[in-house]
Amino acid sequence: MRPLPDALQDELRAALRQALRGVPPRGDVHDLLGRLGLHGLEIAPAAGGLGLGLSYGVVVAEELGRVAACDTYRSGCLAAETGPAAAAGVAAGARPPATAPPPAGGALVRARIRQAAYLVGLAAGAHDLAVRRSGERHQFGRPIAAFQATGFALAADLVRIEEVRLLTAYAAWLADRDAAGSPDSAAAQPRAWPPADGEPDLAAIQALAAAAEAATGVTRRALHLHGTYGLTGDAAIQHYYRLAGTEATRWGQPAALWRAAGHRRLASAPDTEHTTAVLAAAGKGER
């Protein structure tokens, strides 16, 4: 147990942040990611990738969201899951197709986790802009950040971002663990009391629902703290707001995701006659 970034995650984040500095909002970063050799980060070495897993992929997706990039990383990873040929192409730097059939199964779980990470990045990037801006704008002779009404809102948003970042990292870790298969020794250990009942599917759904709401809420507050300037075409913050709106619902609306998460919680409660009756009443149509 070490729920802190490892050395490679720290290095990856620092390198990306450096490389993405100066990229304008909604900038195309396909070639830049290619020069960094990151298109194949999650793709198996046999197909020319690095085989590093989603726990590193979420670092990439978050940093892309932080600069509000229009990336091909998420769609590339998804395209690569359709087969070895597509994977090799993506790893070699080919642009993924603009449209693709909606994913299902494990591909949907992983797409949701990457999406959650991108939304965490959008929220974190917008929050950075809001902190800077509210330190510069003055009212009643003080920076607006010095007022509790502003400072507390920014503090609460920071907690929200950290919450969703951890939910996303945990979902990625569960998905990687399941992909690797459990070692035999794990079966002999006492079952813990894992968050999300240890299910990557549930962990992905709740991370995405929470990230979607955090991104729309945090970007709106961040824009608000910019004042009218934030609405103008010159302001970076309005791009975060727009992107949060379109990206929040890509793999399910938050309201539907929360219901789906709730249904899975019921399904994983201790299996009794009572539980079965509750589940039946909750509706079988939920997914």
Binding site: M1, R2, P3, L4, P5, D6, S55, D128, L129, V131, G135, A145, A146, Q148, G151, F152, L154, A155, L158, V159, E162, E163, V164, L166, L167, A169, Y170, W173, L174, R177, S185, Q189, P190, A192, W193, P195, A196, A203, Q206, A207, A209, A210, A255, L257, W258, R259, A260, A261, G262, H263, R265, L266, A269, P270, V278, L279, A280, A281, A282, G283
Partner: protein, 375 residues
């Protein structure tokens, strides 16, 4: 990031489960649940303490298992799941024990730590005063120097479990009363000593508070913790280190499981989104507490992250309790089953966002770290 418990931690978990499953411990837990009013958990803690698992992060010479802060999470999770009340354990081992380990002399540590770890002696804290609540720098309890030690006089309030405890960690003033931060000293007060009087203050929650009046209570020099007058820094460090949020996160998880288990077919369809939301926030609470503990384990304690963990975990637990009460209606005072647990949780919830750092102070700490620069 690694969210998996290693084999050492899993063995500890198995060991704690085995201890909690022994007939003597099981019976003590059942006795507590069956009793009316505020229970006396000391027999239960004696039974668990005899097995040596109450202070897993302490050195073996003090009755511990030489584990790190993460081992505390393993033990606390298992105690919580088994329905063991946490206040005596937290106060004795995690709060007073930790302060003793940080600034106690070798003699003080030898005298108290093994008995705390063994569940033989219990400790509480005496910080708050009638005129010094969240603002501890305003405390006025005086310690007058006398040959061989001090005579302590004053009134402390809102102490939990004081009537069951043997010793208290108290913050008292040894220096100039005009100074707010200088001259505060931490001392151990023998609660059985002449001049100590504890009276009950009824609480909304199941656990009542105590007012502890100290009338010229003698405290020998050997019971002064750290340098006289330098207690403020030790106190603020101790308060911040308590803020991993672990105990609040475990309450959120336990109450969530209770509410989920108590749902009826009639509730189910209306409760799906709430089940999802509160489940996620209880999960996030535990992840934040683990992350705060991991920082402690690597000596990377970060007071701002700790404030975030305290704020999130306590607010999440309170929100889960509110949801649980709304499912059944809390006003009926049920006597059994999940409904009793949820009704009790609902009365406990408001205290969570007040104790160990009120939510607004946590927000102030976090906001203060933001000002001026982007993080």
């Amino acid at each position: 990031m690694d969210f998996g418990f290693d084999s050492h931690q899993s063995r500890l978990r198995a060991r704690v489960r085995a201890v909690l499953a022994t007939p003597g411990v099981r019976r003590a837990i059942d006795d507590l649940a069956a009793g009316a009013g505020e229970p006396d958990e000391r027999p239960l803690y004696r039974a668990i303490g005899a097995a040596g698992v109450l202070a897993p992060d302490w050195p073996a010479e003090f009755g511990g298992l030489d584990g790190g802060p993460m081992s505390v999470a393993v033990v606390a999770e298992e105690l919580s799941r088994a329905g063991v009340p946490d206040t005596l354990h937290i106060n004795t081992v995690q709060i007073v024990g930790s302060v003793l380990r940080a600034i106690g002399t070798a003699d003080q540590q030898r005298r108290w730590l093994p008995r705390f770890a063994g569940g033989e002696r219990f400790a509480c804290v005496l910080y708050t005063e009638p005129e010094a609540g969240s603002d501890l720098a305003a405390l006025t309890t005086r310690a007058e120097p006398v040959p061989g030690g001090y005579r302590v006089s004053g009134t402390k309030i809102y102490s939990l479990k004081a009537a069951l405890c043997d010793v208290a960690l108290a913050a008292v003033r040894t220096g100039d009363p005009a100074s707010r931060y200088d001259g505060i000293t931490l001392v151990l007060i023998d609660l059985h000593a002449p001049g100590v009087r504890a009276t009950r203050i009824p609480s909304l929650a199941d656990e009542h508070f105590h007012r502890v009046d100290l009338d010229a209570v003698f405290v020998p020099e050997s019971d002064v913790l750290g340098a006289p007058g330098a207690g403020w820094a030790a106190l603020t460090t101790a308060l911040a280190m308590e803020r991993t949020g672990l105990d609040y996160a475990l309450k959120a998880a336990r109450w969530y499981d209770t509410a989920r288990g108590g749902l009826t077919p009639g509730d189910a369809a209306d409760s799906l989104a709430d089940l999802g939301r509160h489940g996620a926030s209880a999960d996030a609470a535990r992840l934040l507490a683990w992350a705060a503990l991991a920082r402690l384990e690597e000596d990377r304690f970060d007071p701002v992250f700790a404030a975030m963990a305290k704020l999130h975990t306590s607010e999440s637990a309170a929100a889960v309790a509110e949801w649980g009460a709304a499912l059944r209606g809390a006003a009926t005072a049920p006597t059994t089953g999940p409904a009793r647990c949820l009704e009790s949780a609902w009365r406990e919830a408001p205290g969570l966002t007040i104790s160990a750092g009120v939510s607004e102070v946590m927000l102030e700490l976090i906001a203060g770290s933001l000002s001026g620069s982007a993080r």
